[in-house]
Amino acid sequence: MFDLATRRIIGATILMLATVITIGMVWLTEEQRMARYEAIHKGKAIENGALIYEQYCSTCHGSQGEGVPGKGPDLNPGVFQHYEELKQTQNYANSLRNFIKLSIAAGRPIRTTYRSDEIYAEPMPTWSQDFGGPLRPDQIESLVEFILNWQTAAAAPTPTPAFEAVGSDLTKPLPPGDPKRGEALWNQEVKQASGIPASCKACHSLKPGETIVGPSLSGIATTAAQRIQAPDYRGQAKTPEEYIRESIQQPNAYIVDPNQFAAAPGVSKMPATLGNQMSAQDLADLIAFLMTLK
């Protein structure tokens, strides 16, 4: 139809036009594409952060950021409230993002707390590789994205279910305990009456001799029976069940090895407020479970 030269001219013109049109299309959609890429990347960062949180943070701050008594404060909504407080009372000027990032990267040199009645076994460790921790900068960024993703939900406070807490009252009668449910409580498969998972296993191992923060509870039924006979025992318990109950509700009544397990003279590393989260039934079930550990 056309001679070679004309075919070449037509072909080259079409190809050049196609190239130019393609570049024009890329140009026109570039803003949206970059924004979309940013959103996808943020989503991926939150996914990564969630995995890192599950691996490193949830043991002390709870799988939902609800905190673990004695180990770590709640992040959701605690960290957001605490930040607002710092801003208002201390003139803290840095951004929320940097506040969280710094707290993770550099940790805390001493034990800190949001509320006066809380006490934690250990201060927040340093997590950044810059300060001897295990996490790379990008992992910390991901973690911050994950924690900030709570912020939207944090505005609405979670209702606390109404229940009667046992507190530190040792005289309150307990219903018969169910060791099966106690074990489920221990494993955090069911929650306490307060809606908060029991945090025992965060500090106590069931492996003989393993000390996480508190002593191993392997064979605690036998140990408890020996303890109440010990000459230096100053508590009120007469039976192993009572000894375990006292240890949970009033951990300061008797500290086995103050050098290892006391946070301050006469104050156990174990928080004294655990009883506020559980009903009499929870406590009875947990004791029943622990009594099976001979």
Binding site: A5, R8, G11, A12, L15, M16, A18, T19, T22, I23, M25, V26, W27, E30, R33, M34, A35, Y37, E38, A39, I40, H41, K42, G43, K44, I46, E47, N48, A50, L51, E54, Q64, R136, P137, D138, Q139, F146, N149, W150, T152, A153
Partner: protein, 563 residues
């Protein structure tokens, strides 16, 4: 004595007075065009555009003698080498690709710092904050793959048309060196994004260096290449410098040696056109000559236009350069592979000879005598490379005719087949032995994208269809409004129940919403524990013991799933 001009300096005014302004404009334009084209006057440009034959003497050869760029190009080609066969323009395309890689590479360099602390972040910035950043990166990556393909095909066609034979042996040898440089250039760029893909592909690729015998030398070679026992900041900087300075400079230098030889000996004619043993490429009869200007130049421009169109359209619509998660030296992805052009090496490292011995039931030779990493990873590839370099000097068959080269052609085809087979052996589809439960997790919820399973089947489920709940594959209660989830769960059920290594296998899938727009997808896999006699292991109560593997991933609404 006062310095004097021999004649009065012509001024524009005087010229116009003498010749008229139209003539003067033409004269100056003509001079400009003649200078820019290094010798072709304006009238001749018009003749070229009109397709008229050149006058004698031919001013169109002037750029070849006067100009720098064209002085290396021949002023005419034999008509027989101007068609697609026998050159397929693969050498030209390789050179074009090198130029395009240089330009796009410099663009990317502007936004990139070779440090593990920021390299990955720089990649993200290129993709989400640099206009045309993604396009440039995709073209760079696509161009790199295309260049490897073009150079490989160039070598194959040179072999099959016997163009490597006397007097072009040295041209072939420089070509082999260029192939090696091209592979290393591509490979050194592979590491720079500093994601999981690049980190582990290069870790595998450089693991051969350590096997260089003797061990003391291997350690030194490894240290020189990686900058440390493992790839880290020093390794990244080394690969960066190799990629942006050292290898391009070497390649550029060897390219000119190669191309000078090509021009010096002429492009070899199709084998059937010459008498056996003749080389008539330089003796082109006048009626067979096709001048470079304008015919070949136009052809080459057309190939350039076609190539650019291919790369731009391909990169914009059909190809995205991969970017996985940040490199993590502590987390080796399952099914890691070297880049595709080094898969044959990975295939060699799986050692076909040992696999054959195993298949035949024969014992393995002791590793002190037969160390497969040393032999298959270093010595054999070294020998292959050496053989390729000197191959033309060993070929005493002077004929280039296909019918006279049956053995060589068969050997070439066998070589290509062996390469293909080894490449297949290098992929994770061949002889990768991880346990069945790990493979199931990898297929459905891989922690890193997998060469076989991509991002995993679970990520194909749209976010809305991830209905929170617990699903047991023994008794699947499928949600009605989530067809894609239902399909994946049924897939999972079939996959587990048909796996002979997962007797009585089942899975409990838990989907929970952990945050706004974030869900957790956990697969807990259970299967019967068997003892060495393939009998179920029983616990104290006489119940069969089940083994358990759990893995979870998180899925964000804005993540890349459902696509």
């Amino acid at each position: 004595m006062a310095l004097r001009w021999p004649e009065p300096i012509p001024t524009l005014q005087k010229e116009v007075q003498q010749h008229g302004w139209r003539r003067v404009i033409f004269m100056h334009l003509d001079e400009l065009v003649t200078r820019v084209t290094a010798g072709i006057p304006l009238t001749e440009v018009r003749n070229i555009l009109r397709g008229e034959p050149p006058p004698r003497p031919n001013p169109r050869v002037k750029p070849h003698t006067e100009g720098f760029i064209l002085h290396i190009k021949p002023s005419f080609y034999h008509e027989a080498v101007t068609r697609l066969y026998p050159t397929f323009r693969l050498g030209l395309l390789s050179f074009y690709l090198f130029l395009i890689e240089t330009i796009t590479g410099i663009f990317l360099m502007i936004f990139y710092t070779p440090s593990p602390l920021v390299a990955y972040e720089n990649m993200l910035r290129i993709l989400n904050n640099v206009p045309f950043g993604q396009l440039m990166r995709d073209i760079h990556r696509l161009g790199a793959e295309a260049m490897v393909v073009a150079v490989m095909l160039h070598m194959l066609r040179t072999f099959f048309t016997a163009s490597y034979k006397r007097p072009r042996q040295f041209t072939w040898a420089t070509g082999v060196i260029l192939l090696v440089f091209t592979l290393f250039l591509s490979f050194s760029g592979y590491l720079l994004p500093w994601d999981q893909l690049s980190y582990w592909a290069v870790t595998i690729g450089t693991s051969m260096a350590e096997a260089t015998p003797p061990p003391a030398l291997g350690r030194i070679v490894n240290l020189i290449l990686r900058g440390a026992p493992d790839i880290g900041a020093a390794g990244l900087l080394r690969f960066y410098l190799l990629h942006v300075i050292f290898l391009p400079l070497l390649l550029f230098f060897v390219f000119f040696v190669h191309y000078y030889k090509v021009v010096r000996h002429g492009l070899s004619l199709p084998p059937e056109m010459e008498a056996v043993g003749d080389d008539t490429a330089r003796k082109v009869p006048p009626e067979k000559r096709v001048p470079y200007i304008p015919d070949i130049a136009i052809q080459e421009a057309l190939w350039g236009i076609g190539l650019i169109a291919f790369l731009v359209i391909g990169a914009a619509f059909f190809y995205d350069a991969p970017l996985e998660q940040h490199a993590d030296p502590l987390n080796t992805p399952l099914h890691t592979t070297a880049p595709w052009y080094f898969l044959w090496l990975q295939g060699l490292l799986k050692d076909p000879f040992l696999l054959a011995l195993e298949r035949l039931g024969l014992p393995r030779p002791p590793s002190t005598i037969y160390n497969s990493k040393v032999i298959m990873g270093v010595i054999l590839p070294g020998l292959i490379l050496f053989f390729l370099l000197i191959m033309p000097y060993l070929d005493f068959n002077i004929s280039r005719r296909y019918s006279h080269r049956r053995k060589a052609l068969v050997a070439g085809l066998v070589g290509v087949a062996a390469w293909t087979l080894l490449t297949y052996m290098g992929t994770p589809a061949f002889a990768v032995t991880s346990s069945a439960d790990v493979e199931v997790m990898q297929e459905f919820i891989p922690l890193n994208p997998d060469p076989l399973f991509g991002e995993g089947k679970v990520r194909t489920i749209p976010y809305e269809q991830l209905v929170p709940g617990t699903y047991d594959t023994r008794n699947l209660q499928l949600p009605a409004d989530a067809p894609r989830l239902a399909r994946v769960l049924e897939d999972l059920k079939r996959r587990i129940e048909t796996d002979p290594h997962l007797p009585q296998g089942y899975a409990i899938v838990r989907i929970s919403e952990v945050q706004a727009n974030l869900k957790r997808f956990e697969i807990a896999l259970y299967w019967l524990k068997l003892d060495e006699h393939h009998q179920p292991v029983l616990d104290e109560q006489g119940n069969p013991v089940f083994q358990e593997t759990k893995q979870a991933i998180y899925l964000h609404r804005d993540g890349t799933h459902g696509e």
